[in-house]
Symmetry: C2
Amino acid sequence: MLKKEYLMVPGPTTVPERVLQAMQRPVINHRGKQYETMFSTITAKLQRLFNTRHEVLTFPAAGTGSMEAAVVNLLSPGDKVLAVSIGVFGDRFGQIAAKFDAVVEKLEFPWGTAAAAEKLQERLKADQRHEIKAILITHNETSTGVTNDIKALAEARGNHPALLVIDAVSSLGAIELRMDEWGIDAVITGSQKALMIPPGLAFLAMNDRAWAAYEASAMPKFYWDAGDAKKALAKGQNPYTPPVSLLFGLEEALTLIEEEGIDNIIKRHCLLAKALRAGLKALGLELLAEDAVASTGVTAVYKPAGIETKDIQKIMRERFGITLAGGQKQLEGRIFRIGHLGYVAVTDILVTVAALEITLTELGIDVALGTGVSAVQWAIIKEQCWQ
Amino acid sequence: MLKKEYLMVPGPTTVPERVLQAMQRPVINHRGKQYETMFSTITAKLQRLFNTRHEVLTFPAAGTGSMEAAVVNLLSPGDKVLAVSIGVFGDRFGQIAAKFDAVVEKLEFPWGTAAAAEKLQERLKADQRHEIKAILITHNETSTGVTNDIKALAEARGNHPALLVIDAVSSLGAIELRMDEWGIDAVITGSQKALMIPPGLAFLAMNDRAWAAYEASAMPKFYWDAGDAKKALAKGQNPYTPPVSLLFGLEEALTLIEEEGIDNIIKRHCLLAKALRAGLKALGLELLAEDAVASTGVTAVYKPAGIETKDIQKIMRERFGITLAGGQKQLEGRIFRIGHLGYVAVTDILVTVAALEITLTELGIDVALGTGVSAVQWAIIKEQCWQ
């Protein structure tokens, strides 16, 4: 049966039609005036989105590339690093640092919970000789659907000189993040999440403290060299050939973001998550994250007993065209995840919950059809945040 | 708030992405070999869709153009015509014939009902001198959401020599119509309904009896001259410049139709209508057409007392991006219409009913949220017609 595509995974996310159209423009010379003007405009818009006055560097790469870029530009082999982890991506950040011979200490929290600011404060207080050079933290942990309170964690750092490095791959553009105001030293993100363009671009912003660390960094780097990228950016260029079509898309996506307004976008994600969570709970489903720490971009749901997550995903995809994500690592087979990041409207939440009710019914789970949907509807009505 | 577009009107309908992409190809010479090959392929596919071995002629025009084409090619001034009408488009067919000095007799049925075959049979039996030269019938009456039983009406004609001319603008490609098998003499349709391409193309197919009538026809015609179109078609061409981009789209749309299979498409529309009607009834809404004659492409719904149809349309459009149609002529302000024709999936029905429940609630109508959606869900589950 004919179906439409609903890409309800936490990235890559749905690309708006206007962005797809922009990407169809003929490729231009990346060393010419036209590109330079466009790239400079893009960078200015990215700075507004990062809430920073510092350069935002653009690399042709997956999001993970920006994690590696942060590590190799800010650290030296032997540097002690505190990797705060609440899931897969927190772990990965630490792994990358370890690969480049940083001495990684993990500050772990149970999956499904957020990092506790007091634990970070405690650990840093104990580090009286200031051995810890950097703190790596995931803003939004995609694997568990939990958002860390970066403002509180930044405050917990206090006067400790460690660099605060934030992985904002699945948050920037959807969840509030104020780089300069909160004293974050480096922020990284990718293109395929809240930025609403296809995968292929990674971003790194560094403040003055981070640039000072760059000067002292002895880790080997060529492709990720932030100094080279900064030099090229001053001329409106990139060190190595950029994916020009993705930049066309990014320019349009950033225009869309400014048209809607970042504050409105943050509120919209909040409504999407609230409405979805209300619907899922009304169906008796158990959510991995507590409301207080729940991500507004992705929701992790425990599968009901007696059925398989892959069967839920299969029916949702094959019958309704709705793609959901499974669990990762220790959560594989135990949860499924619903992405609601970027170009997502309340109608997408309504249709996802309505289709999920049918899917659970088909799998023999006793669900009162319409119950989840009505909770979503009530949440939409109560929010009253229409513009 | 960000919203996606749901064009739930009975035409123009949503154009699939693949069709939009096909339309972006560079325009080609309409007198060249490439066009001739494409146009011949398109015509062969149209013949399969019309269920006819006769030529299907393509005119650059709105659907109403094909109605005029049928009239001026088949009739002469002074010819007596029986215009069977169950709504706006049945009336229009008769008006066009009258404008060209046919003597139009209307066989009318109350809006919301279908044409009764026995009434047609009765009228033709009374026409012992065979004065009636043509019977004009709308297959699917878009203004009321009623489908006429063309097979039964064709049988009711019996041996009367009047031409049977069917307006299939909002049916062909969604609702079964078998031109040759049912003995229909001429069929017309447009591009912007079940054919899933933008407005701009009109089609006319004529059998041997119709071509004989064409030879005798004395109505003035130049642009709509079927003989000229037939001659050009033999060379894979059109008499006058065709909208080449729409033809690119049509070629892709007909490919999509053959991929899904017309039988499956007809079944899908049946499910969409059944599910929608179940949902609307569960909300206590009154439908204009009885189930037995209800269109599977458009559903007309009486507004609840105390609210305005334009307010329903406004909230649906502004909050959810869902465009509904209002009523026409005597039904204006009394009904709203939901189109589910062409590129429509069950998820579109789920989201429409879910949003309608919120809309009615916002307008102060006492609606148990989720009630309509659950009826839609049950209909989807019960149909079991997944492929």
